[in-house]
Every structure is written in structure tokens, then in C-alpha cells.
Subunit: 119 residues, 2 copies
């Protein structure tokens, strides 16, 4: 039951596309992730997924077009909706989703990260 | 499936201690609230509660002592744990908790807010 500093947690790692868990809310995990470049198209058939940008800018591609998020912007991707995050410069994001949610969802592949790394 | 700007949402209301819903993640609500002064001691017997400070400073009193949160700090209050938020100057907070969670939890009373106000 301690205060968790997002800035301190973000300063503790440098790898990208590898979400780190910083808290648990019931059966949900709060994760931080750094991204740069393009992710893979995927969806999460079982759950919505929350993105809150903490620093930088990101785009989320959907099949109907792209969305732009800057620091302080949030998007909640509905379950089953295909999306592809990307960022031209490094962007720091908070994610909230049920524990065990795989970053690449139904797509899998080489960008699949460990889903239970706490920092 | 739109981008939600926390700054724009925060600019759209001025009342305090009255959480506004800005998004839904499965059966959880993402809320914004402005606080100043002292809330009431209460707990949520059924759920954890996430606080993320977006602007300003707040304190959360627990029976074992206080925690200080600045912008970018998060705390997750475990279910059933008594707590009392307070802020000497206005503070803007994001809350995440299951839909229908009452702001005053098991305490009730005059600071109880409507629990289904969307902005």
C-alpha cells in the first residue's frame, strides 16, 4: 500500500515493447511500457484494453483509421477490435488490462513479451 | 473508440468530490475527480481502488499513517482498507474501480455522490 511513482518506475528500465507490472487492482494489472516503432496488428478477444500516454506521442492504427494520443490522452480499445500501436519517437504508456493478458493478443509472434514481469 | 483528453475533460467541470466517468474498461469505470479539503473515512469492502494523481498534490490517510501523492503518483487502496483522501490545494485525480462503486464506500453520508455521471 505504497505510493508508486510512474517516473521512478519508468526510469528503471529501457527495453521497449515489454510491459512491466507496477500494480494490481483486483484481478487487473497496471503496466508501464516504452514503445518506439511499429507493433503488430492484434486484438484481445476476451477484454478491453486501456492505454494512457504518460510521455511522448503515439498512434493507434485501427482498420477504420488512426488515432493520435499525446501525454494525458487515453484510449480504451474494445475487446476483439484489431489495433496496432506505433510511435515515431519513444513514448511511455500506462496500460490496464486483466492479469495474464498477452501483449500480442491473438496474433502472437516474436513481439510477444513475458506477461508477468513486476518492477 | 475515440481518444479521450484528460485535460479537456478536467476543463469541463468545476465541482469537487463528485467523480465523473470518462471511460469504461470491461466492467470498470475510469473517473476524474477534483478534490480540495478533507473527505470522510471509508472503505470499499468489495473492491480495490486505484488513484492516479494528474495534477496537484494529495494525501491519503490510513490508520497506520499518511501517504503523499504528487502528479504521476499512483496508489491502489486494497479492498476493505479504511482511507481518507485530502488535499490542501485543489488536486485532480483519475480513479479506476468497478462500475457502481460508491465514492463514500461503506460510510455513506452527505459526501456521497451520484455514481453514474458521464462527461
Amino acid at each position: 500500500m505504497n505510493t508508486i511513482s510512474m517516473a521512478e518506475k519508468l526510469a528503471s528500465f529501457t527495453d521497449r515493447w515489454a510491459p512491466k507490472i507496477v500494480g494490481q487492482l483486483n484481478d487487473y494489472h497496471v503496466k508501464l511500457v516504452k514503445i518506439k516503432g511499429e507493433f503488430v496488428w492484434h486484438s484481445h478477444p476476451e477484454t478491453d484494453e486501456l492505454f494512457l500516454v504518460l510521455e511522448g506521442d503515439m498512434m493507434v492504427d485501427f482498420r477504420d483509421g488512426e488515432r493520435h494520443l499525446s501525454a494525458g490522452d487515453m484510449i480504451i480499445v474494445p475487446k476483439g477490435v484489431e489495433h496496432k500501436p506505433r510511435a515515431s519517437d519513444e513514448c511511455h504508456i500506462m496500460l490496464i488490462e486483466p492479469a495474464g493478458t498477452r501483449n500480442t493478443g491473438d496474433a502472437g509472434g516474436e513481439m510477444t513479451a513475458e506477461d508477468n514481469v513486476w518492477i
